[in-house]
C-alpha cells in the first residue's frame, strides 16, 4: 500500500450510485452488529432510505474463527425507496477467513471486497476450512479486492495508549467502519457521538474506538488504496420526524402506546426466548408508563400471569417464539373460554424444536390459527415491517379489548432485529379506546354480550355487587354458570365463531397495490412484504398487470378478499414456510393459488420473487 506523501492531497474521484448493499461479516466477537448498526445510523443521517438485516449465530461466544461463529450485518442504502435489506452485495467487509468463506457467494461480480490481510494466517485459514489461501489462488480476482491492514493500522493508531492486545483488537471494527464510511461518504459524527455516550464510563475504550474510527476514515482519504469514493444521494422521504427502529422495539412501543390509550396498566408475563427477549428487555425499562414486566418461571407462567392480570383489568401480554407458543396453548384455550383480552406475541423462528433460533420463518401461522384444543378461534394479526410492528401491536391490543378476546400477534426473527427509518406517529393521532369496566350490578350477567361486538362485560374484581366466577368449564350462554347442556355448548361454540366474524368490521377495504385487476395477484403476510413489493413493482414498471395484497388480518380474513382474488387470473403466495397461508386461501376461496416457498431461515431475495412471477406470467 502506498501512503500519501505529506502535504500532497490526493485527487480522488467521486462516483454516484443509486443504491448500495453492503455486508459486514466477522467473528461473533468482532462487533459486526454494532458496526452495521452504526453504519445504518450514518446512512440515515446521509438521508438515504435503508433496510437492514442482522444475521448472527445462535452461539453466544462461538470459538473464534470458526465458520459457525460468523456474525453479519447487511445494510441496503439508497437514494430511492428501499423495501428490503437487498439481495446481492455490492460491498463486503470481512474480518477473517471464515467470514469470507460464508459470505463471498453473495458478493456481486466486480463487487467491493475489503478484508484484513493479516487475519488470513495459517490457523485462521484452517479453522475456516481453507486448504489454500484465497488471497493466493486467484479466486478473488473477479472482485475489487482491497487488502486493508485493519489490525496493523488499528494497532498503530492506538500505540501510545499502551492497551493490552485484546482491547486493541476490539477497536478493529471501528477502523473498518471508518474506512467504509469514507468510501461511501457517510458522516462519522453520529458514530463519534454514539461512542461518547456508549463508553462514557470507560474513557479508555471511548478514546480507542474514536481513534480507530478516525484512523480508518483518514486512511481512506489519504492513501491511494481507493481510487474513488461513492456517493448515494438522499432519498425522497415523506417529511416528518424519524428514528431508526427494530421490530422488537416497535412492538414494545406499540404495546405501551395502546395501554396508554386504553388508560390501563400493561402487564407483560414472559420467559426469555430468542428472538423475543428484547421486547421483555425494552418493556422492563418503561415502568414509568405503568408497565409491569414479570420474568416468569416458564412460558406457561408467562401467559398465565398475563391472563391473571387481564382478569384484574390490566392489558395482559405475553411474548414468545414458536416452542413457547406450544407451551402456552393450553392457557390460550382458557383465555378463549373465559373471553378475556390477552395478547400472545409469537416472534417466529425456524423450527421445529429449537431449530435455528436466530433465523426467521413463518411456520407458526397454522399453529396460530388452529393450534388449540377444541374449537377456539382467535384473531391473528401480523406485522409486515419493523416499523409496522408498532401498529400491529397497537391493533392487537385494541381488538383484544374491544372484543374481549385473546389475540395472536405474529412477527418474526427478521422483523425483530431488522431496522428501518420509522416516521414517528404523534401520540395524539393514535386512536383512543379508553376502557370502561362494567360497574352496574343491575341486569349483570358475566356472559351478557354486547350486540355489536359480542364482547362480554369486563369487570374488575373489587367492584361491589358484581362478584362472579369464571373458568374453563363450559358455561351457560347468559349466566356463565357451569353448563353441560348439549345445545348450550353448540351455542357457545358458535357464538365464539360469530365473534370472529364480527371483527371483520374492523378490517379496512383490502388495499391492492397495483392494478385493481389483472394477470397475477401476489398475496403475502408478515415480513415478506418488502421483497414482494420490490418484486411486484419491478413488473409494474414494465407495465405488467401484477399486483400485491399484503394481509394484516389472518383471522378473520378481510371480507372482500375473495372478491379481490377473483379479479386476477393467477394467485401467487410467497411464504417462508411450506405453504401455510396458501392452504388457508385455497380452502377458503377455492382458488388455485400457487406457492413460492423458501425455508432457509432467510428472507426472500427480490430476485427469487421476480423469477417466479416471470415464470407465472409466461405460462
Amino acid at each position: 500500500m502506498a501512503t500519501n506523501p505529506v502535504g500532497a492531497p490526493l485527487q480522488k474521484t467521486v462516483q454516484e450510485r443509486e443504491n448500495v448493499v453492503i455486508r459486514f461479516a466477522g467473528d461473533s466477537g468482532d462487533g459486526m452488529q454494532v458496526t452495521g448498526m452504526q453504519f445504518t445510523t450514518e446512512s440515515v443521517f446521509a438521508g438515504n432510505d435503508i433496510g437492514t438485516l442482522p444475521d448472527f449465530p445462535a452461539e453466544i461466544r462461538a470459538p473464534t474463527g470458526t465458520l459457525y461463529g460468523v456474525s453479519a450485518f447487511q445494510v441496503n442504502f439508497s437514494s430511492k425507496n428501499v423495501f428490503t435489506p437487498g439481495d446481492d452485495l455490492d460491498a463486503l467487509v470481512v474480518m477473517n477467513p471464515a467470514a469470507l468463506k460464508t459470505n463471498l457467494a453473495d458478493l456481486k461480480q466486480n463487487g467491493i471486497l475489503i478484508l484484513d490481510k493479516v487475519e488470513f494466517n495459517e490457523p485462521n485459514l484452517k479453522k475456516a476450512e481453507y486448504t489454500k489461501s484465497p488471497l493466493d489462488d486467484g479466486s478473488l480476482d473477479k472482485y475489487q479486492t482491497y487488502q486493508v491492514e485493519i489490525t496493523k493500522l488499528t494497532t498503530l493508531a492506538l500505540k501510545d495508549m499502551n492497551l493490552p492486545n485484546r482491547s486493541v483488537m476490539r477497536s478493529r471494527n471501528f477502523f473498518a467502519l471508518g474506512v467504509v464510511s469514507w468510501l461511501f461518504t457517510r458522516p462519522i459524527e453520529p458514530t463519534l457521538n454514539w461512542i461518547k455516550e456508549r463508553f462514557k464510563r470507560t474513557p479508555e475504550v471511548m478514546e480507542a474506538n474514536t481513534r480507530a474510527l478516525k484512523a480508518g476514515y483518514n486512511m481512506g482519504e489519504n492513501t491511494e488504496i481507493f481510487a474513488s469514493s461513492y456517493e448515494i444521494k438522499p432519498a425522497q422521504i415523506a417529511p416528518g420526524v424519524y428514528r431508526n427502529i427494530t421490530g422488537n422495539t416497535a412492538t414494545a412501543l406499540g404495546f405501551v402506546a395502546a395501554a396508554q390509550k386504553a388508560g390501563l396498566p400493561l402487564f407483560l408475563g414472559s420467559y426469555p426466548i430468542t428472538p423475543a427477549s428484547d421486547v421483555l428487555h425494552d418493556l422492563s425499562t418503561l415502568k414509568n408508563f405503568n408497565v409491569y414486566t414479570f420474568q416468569a418461571e416458564d412460558e406457561i407462567a408467562g401467559v398465565g400471569s398475563a391472563l391473571g392480570a387481564a382478569f384484574g383489568g390490566a392489558i395482559g401480554i405475553t411474548t414468545t417464539s414458536g416452542p413457547g407458543m406450544n407451551l402456552k396453548a393450553e392457557t390460550v384455550g382458557l383465555a378463549a373460554a373465559v373471553e378475556l383480552p390477552l395478547i400472545i406475541t409469537d416472534i417466529q423462528r425456524a423450527g421445529p424444536s429449537t431449530g435455528m433460533p436466530t433465523k426467521p420463518e413463518q411456520a407458526d401461522l397454522l399453529q396460530s390459527l388452529y393450534g388449540r384444543h377444541g374449537e377456539a378461534p382467535l384473531p391473528v394479526i401480523a406485522a409486515s415491517s419493523p416499523g409496522d410492528c408498532f401498529y400491529a401491536a397497537f391493533e392487537a391490543v385494541r381488538i383484544a379489548v374491544k372484543y374481549m378476546t385473546p389475540v395472536i400477534l405474529l412477527t418474526d426473527g427478521y422483523l425483530a432485529n431488522a431496522s428501518e427509518p420509522w416516521l414517528l406517529p404523534r401520540a395524539a393521532d393514535l386512536p383512543d379506546f379508553k376502557v370502561e369496566f362494567r360497574t352496574d350490578p343491575q341486569g349483570f350477567f358475566p356472559y351478557l354480550r354486547d350486540e355489536n361486538t359480542l364482547a362480554r362485560p369486563w369487570v374488575r374484581p373489587g367492584t361491589p355487587g358484581l362478584e362472579h366466577r369464571i373458568g374453563g368449564l363450559e358455561k351457560d350462554y347468559l349466566t356463565g354458570n357451569i353448563s353441560y347442556a348439549p345445545n348450550n355448548h353448540e351455542q357457545m361454540v358458535r357464538v365464539r365463531y360469530r365473534k370472529m366474524a364480527k371483527i371483520t368490521q374492523e378490517i379496512p377495504p383490502t388495499k391492492v397495490e397495483g392494478p385493481e385487476r389483472g394477470k397475477l395477484l401476489v398475496i403475502g403476510w408478515g415480513s415478506t412484504y418488502g421483497s414482494i413489493a420490490a418484486g411486484v413493482k419491478d413488473f409494474q414498471g414494465q407495465g405488467k398487470a401484477v399486483s400485491q395484497v399484503h394481509l394484516r388480518y389472518l383471522n378473520p380474513l378481510p371480507p372482500d378478499l375473495g372478491e379481490v382474488i377473483s379479479r386476477f387470473d393467477k394467485v401467487l403466495v410467497p411464504e417462508m414456510n411450506m405453504g401455510q397461508l396458501l392452504r388457508v386461501l385455497r380452502a377458503e376461496y377455492l382458488v388455485d393459488a400457487v406457492g413460492l416457498n423458501k425455508i432457509q431461515g432467510r428472507p426472500f431475495k427480490v430476485s427469487e420473487i421476480t423469477a417466479k412471477i416471470a415464470r407465472m406470467l409466461e405460462e
Binding site: T41, V44, F45, G47, W194, A238, P239, G240, V241, Y242, R243, N244, V256, A257, Q260, P265, F267, G269, L286, K287, N288, F289, N290, V291, Y292, F294, A296, E297, I300, A301, G304, S305, L307, G308, A309, A310, F311, G312, G313, A314, T331, G333, L334, P425, R426, A427, R460, P461, G462, P464, G465, E467, H468, R469, I470, G471, G472, L473, N481, I482
Partner: protein, 337 residues
C-alpha cells in the same frame, strides 16, 4: 384493603348460589365451611377477595365462594394469581389447589410463587390421591400404593409438601386437617393475616378413592397420640394424658415419655421463626412420630408484589409522568423536511 374495618359480613354472604358438587362425606365440605365461617370476621369486603384454582376436586372451591373467582387450568393457579396480585395489590388473592394440581403438574408454579413471596394465600388440600380422574396415585401417595394406574403398587417415593415449601424459604408454612374444625379456622386466620405467600397443607380425606388415609390422625381413640399440636413458645407435648413429648437428642428429635427424670423443660419449645426446627418438624411422620399440626414457620420478607409496585411508583415519580411522545422520540431522531 382500605375499607376493612367498615364491613360486617355474615357467613351466608360468602355462600354462592351454586350447588356444591363434591361427593357426600368428602373432606372438602369441612374446609369450605371453615373458610366461610372465618371470612366474615376478617372484615374484608367480599368484592376484594378472589379465589383462584386449578383443576381437581379441590379446585371447584371458587364456584362455592361468593367472591370473585377463577377456576383455571391444571396446576397454573399460582401463575395466574401472581399476575393478578402483582397488578392488583389491593385484592386479597387466595389459591386453592391439591396434591396433584399443586405438587405434580403445577409444582413449578407453586414453588416459584412461594419463593418469590407473592402475597397469595395458598391452601393445598392433600388427600394423597387423584380424585377427579377417579383414583390414580398422587405425588404424596405412599410408596407401593395400589391404585387403578398402579395395580401392583406404585414405585414412586412421595413428596413432602412442607419440605418443598421450606426448601424455597416460604414465609408462612402450616398444616392442618379437615376434621379439626377449630384448628383449621385458627390456621386459616393466621394465613389471612400473614403478609406474603402462605402455604397451608390441609390433610383431607377423600372418602371415595382414599378413605382413611389419615384415619390414625382423626380416629378419636388414637388422635391424641398421633397429633402434635404446635403452639408458638410452648413445649411439644402430646398424648392422651399429655405425658409424651419431643426431645432433641443431638441433632435428632425423639419421642419421650415424661417422668422418670424427664420433665417438660427437657422438651423442644416450638419457635415459629426457627428454620431448623421447621425442618425437623416437617420431617416428623408416623409411625415413629406424631404428625405436627399448626403453624410450622412464619418469617417476614418483602413481598414480590410490593417490590414490583414500588419499582413502578418509583419510576413514575422520577420520570414525572408518562409522556408518550417523549418515549416515541427517544434516541437518535432526525427530521425530513
Amino acid at each position: 384493603m382500605s375499607t376493612a374495618s367498615a364491613v360486617k359480613l355474615t357467613r351466608k354472604e360468602f355462600v354462592s348460589d351454586q350447588d356444591v358438587r363434591w361427593c357426600p362425606g368428602c373432606g372438602d365440605y369441612s374446609i369450605l365451611a371453615q373458610v366461610q365461617k372465618v371470612f366474615p370476621d376478617m372484615g374484608i369486603p367480599r368484592e376484594n377477595i378472589v379465589f383462584i384454582s386449578g383443576i381437581g376436586c379441590s379446585s371447584r372451591f371458587p364456584y362455592y365462594m361468593n367472591t370473585y373467582g377463577f377456576h383455571s387450568i391444571h396446576g397454573r393457579a399460582p401463575a395466574i394469581a401472581t399476575g393478578l396480585k402483582v397488578s392488583r395489590p389491593d385484592l386479597m388473592v387466595w389459591v386453592v389447589t391439591g396434591d396433584g394440581d399443586g405438587l405434580s403438574i403445577g409444582g413449578n408454579h407453586l414453588m416459584h410463587a412461594l419463593r418469590r413471596n407473592v402475597d397469595l394465600k395458598i391452601l393445598l388440600f392433600n388427600n394423597r390421591i387423584y380424585g377427579l380422574t377417579k383414583g390414580q396415585y398422587s405425588p404424596t401417595s405412599e410408596l407401593g400404593k395400589v391404585t387403578k394406574s398402579t395395580p401392583v403398587g406404585s414405585a414412586d417415593h412421595p413428596l413432602n409438601p412442607l419440605l418443598l415449601a421450606l426448601g424455597v424459604d416460604a414465609t408462612f408454612i402450616a398444616r392442618t386437617i379437615d376434621v379439626e374444625t377449630r384448628h383449621q379456622q385458627e390456621v386459616i386466620k393466621r394465613a389471612a393475616e400473614h403478609k406474603g405467600a402462605t402455604f397451608v397443607e390441609i390433610l383431607q380425606n377423600c372418602n371415595v378413592y382414599n378413605d382413611g388415609a389419615f384415619a390414625s390422625l382423626t380416629d378419636k381413640e388414637t388422635k391424641a397420640d398421633t397429633q402434635l399440636m404446635l403452639e408458638h413458645g410452648k413445649p411439644m407435648v402430646f398424648g392422651k394424658n399429655k405425658d409424651r413429648g419431643i426431645r432433641l437428642n443431638g441433632l435428632t428429635p425423639e419421642v419421650v415419655t415424661l417422668g422418670n427424670g424427664i420433665g417438660v423443660s427437657d422438651l423442644l419449645i416450638h419457635d415459629e421463626t426457627d428454620a431448623v426446627l421447621a425442618f425437623l418438624l416437617s420431617r416428623m411422620a408416623p409411625p415413629a412420630f406424631p404428625t405436627p399440626l399448626g403453624v410450622i414457620r412464619v418469617i417476614e420478607k418483602p413481598t414480590f408484589d410490593a417490590l414490583m409496585n414500588h419499582q413502578i411508583r418509583d419510576a413514575m415519580e422520577k420520570s414525572g409522568g408518562a409522556d408518550l411522545d417523549k418515549l416515541l422520540n427517544r434516541g437518535d431522531v432526525w427530521t425530513v423536511k
